[in-house]
């Protein structure tokens, strides 16, 4: 059992997500930076689907009443066990009675705390991911709060790497203040005029403070739409379309003013024209952005997107290999 002594800014139980429920209006949720979540689990020998704690900007203080292996991956932050400072991206050992504190992130926006065995809150539809807007997942459908007792499960995949094991620097995500994010054009791309599409891919946008797990809002140049008579049921604004499904990662630009990149907790549909979709592995990076980071969109083909996906999977394999876990399979 782990007791929450300080909850942090917005700390959520997350796993890989609750896939397969778009048809009832339930988005997948899950760790925004899936790669870092998986790495944190690998560092303690968990299954990749074990639940971790997703820290947003300021981490929690947790008291352990049994010894445990833990690891923090994602954005860099000071990690204390009692009052001894440790590194992120490293297997750590906490003794019974000790506290683990994750401070304020120095890079990125989110970090993942994995505890060997995983957080064992009750799964809902096969996932422990917290989805605040429907009050499901986690301990009570909300961020963790002071006094919560987090049960620890048994989702181990292999032996725990020894304390001090790390993920090679070169395999960790590159977190900065300026990101290039790859986008596959499509969806309602035809609604935007040619100049606007060029402007979208040549401008630098800024992440607005009104950004969270539902979506990231960006400020930048305004875009315009191809003129048309509003079709029946679409709505009067040129950015309106007959309500449609929003893929995770799709980018809409209501009124041409403020692009919104939809993330894992986004509503599953609505009436604003999306211009394209961020490729899956770059969604991890979007989850690490914060105001006022700069973002540039780079157009790629589906085939580029699938190659990038393969490279990301290979990178995950390299992390496993680096931790010398392959021999234990």
């Amino acid at each position: 059992m782990v007791t929450v002594q300080y909850a942090g800014a917005h700390t959520l139980v997350q796993d890989l997500g609750r896939d397969g429920h778009y048809a009832i209006g339930l988005p997948p949720s899950g760790a925004l930076d899936q790669f870092s979540h998986r790495c944190a689990n690998l560092l303690v020998g968990n299954h990749s689907a074990a639940a971790t704690l997703e820290v947003t900007m300021v981490g929690p203080k947790l008291r352990f009443d049994a010894p445990a292996c833990v690891a923090v991956a994602g954005g860099d932050a000071p990690v204390w066990i009692d009052d001894v400072l440790h590194d992120t991206w490293m297997t750590l050992y906490v003794e019974s009675g000790q506290t683990l504190t994750v401070g304020t992130l120095r890079t990125g926006c989110r970090a993942y705390i994995a505890i060997r065995g995983g957080i064992d809150s009750p799964p809902f539809l096969g996932s422990r991911s917290t989805y605040v807007s429907s009050a499901i997942g986690g301990l009570h459908g909300t961020p963790i709060v002071i006094g919560d007792h987090l049960p620890i499960g048994t989702e181990m995949a292999h032996d725990c790497p020894g304390p001090g094991s790390t993920v090679d620097d070169r395999l960790r995500p590159t977190l900065s203040c300026h990101y290039q994010i790859r986008v596959v054009e499509g969806l309602c791309h035809y609604r935007f005029d040619e100049n606007s599409i060029e402007r979208f891919f040549t401008s630098t946008f800024t992440v607005s403070p009104v950004s969270d797990r539902t979506g990231y809002r960006l400020s930048g140049p305004s875009l315009t739409f191809v003129e048309r008579e509003p079709p029946f049921g679409a709505g009067d604004n040129p950015s309106n379309v007959v309500d449609l499904g929003y893929p995770m990662g799709s980018i809409q630009i209501p009124n041409g003013e403020e692009p919104i990149c939809l993330l894992r907790d986004a509503v599953t549909g609505g009436g604003y024209a999306p211009i394209g979709t961020i490729i899956n592995c770059d969604l991890d990076l979007v989850g690490q952005m914060k105001a006022p980071d700069a973002i540039q969109f780079v157009r790629v083909t589906l085939s580029d997107a699938l190659s990038a996906r393969k490279r990301q999977n290979q990178r995950m394999q390299d992390v496993k290999f680096g931790l010398k876990l392959l021999s234990l399979f």
Binding site: A234, D243, L244, P247, G249
Partner: protein
């Protein structure tokens, strides 16, 4: 790169890819009931095919999207399968849907939704009217009562479950010139009572839980449309009351009836008035008013 991101199917539906995990198919730019029902027939058939690698099949009003796992299914390989389905369901007149019809008792023009909408006049087209007064006026009804009787005169069909679990965008089974149409709020409200019945564009929704919203508030359902815990009667098989192609018949009730039904609903003794029904599109298109009357009979008290 100047090439178009689109491919076109046999019926000119526009196909594109939503990153590496989604395939998006758009039938047309306008809402069309016949096309909406074709979408439901096509997506139901696709779901039945149980293709390995497909994670989600989500029909919408004039489009549908598929989420897949590219490690098991290359999104490019799916396009041919979709084209086959679009050919198989080329004739929307042949569409029949085995679905159900459920009655929703509504206290139209109730105090809680009136009070809520009056808090947000700064975000609304009309500074002085309530949402239901505004909706009646912009649809040329001489009174709120006339709007209520139009809204409850024929069933609605769910065309797009979205936004949050239990929420369903549904379109009334009346000819297009009788469709109620309203703009959405200029800027969304930050509050909406749970179970509010509201209309935006050509669609009615029942808000499953409280929260933000931009549709015009018409009244409040006495019964819920979602139970994620699946512990109340009516939710044994599903967490949501209605899904794509379900029919909804609204029944106007007074405040006293509303309070009685709320009590039985909370006690778990309320039984939804719900029956299986087969919806035949050609019959609706031949005689929309007569067919809607016949469907409505199924849930008549």
């Amino acid at each position: 790169m100047t090439s178009t991101p689109y491919q076109f199917l046999c019926d000119e539906s526009r196909v594109s890819f939503g990153g590496d995990e989604f395939v998006f198919v758009e039938f047309g730019e306008a809402m069309d009931l016949a096309e909406a029902l074709r979408i439901q027939a096509i997506t139901a058939a696709l779901t039945r095919m149980a293709i390995a690698g497909i994670v989600d099949v989500a029909p919408a009003n004039a489009s549908y999207m598929i989420r897949l796992d590219p490690e098991h299914l290359d999104p490019r390989h799916l396009v041919q399968t979709l084209d086959g389905l679009h050919k198989q369901f080329a004739d929307s007149f042949a569409v029949t849907l085995d679905t159900d019809i459920v009655e929703i008792p509504v206290w139209y023009d109730d105090p809680s939704t009136s009070e809520t909408c009056m808090k947000f006049r700064d975000r609304h087209q009309s500074p002085s009217e309530t949402d239901i007064q505004y909706t009646a006026r912009v649809n040329d009804y001489s009174s709120v009562d006339e709007l209520i009787s139009a809204h409850s005169s024929a069933p609605f069909i769910v065309t797009f479950p979205c936004f949050k679990p239990g929420n369903t965008e549904s379109m009334q089974l009346v000819p297009r010139d009788r469709q109620i149409q309203t703009p959405k709020y200029l800027r969304p409200r930050t509050e909406t009572p749970a179970r509010a019945v509201a209309h935006g564009g050509a669609f009615t929704v029942i808000y499953p839980t409280s929260g933000v919203g931009g549709y015009q508030l018409l009244g409040r359902s006495a019964v819920p449309v979602v139970d994620l815990t699946q512990t109340t009667p009516g939710y044994e098989k599903s967490m949501v009351l209605t899904k794509s192609s379900s029919l909804i018949q609204f029944r106007p009730i007074h405040g006293d009836q509303y309070r009685d039904i709320r009590v039985s609903s909370k006690m778990g003794t309320y039984q939804y008035n719900r029956h299986p029904v087969t919806f035949v599109l050609s019959r609706f298109l031949d005689d929309p008013i007569g067919y809607a009357e016949e469907l409505k009979e199924v849930v008549r008290w």
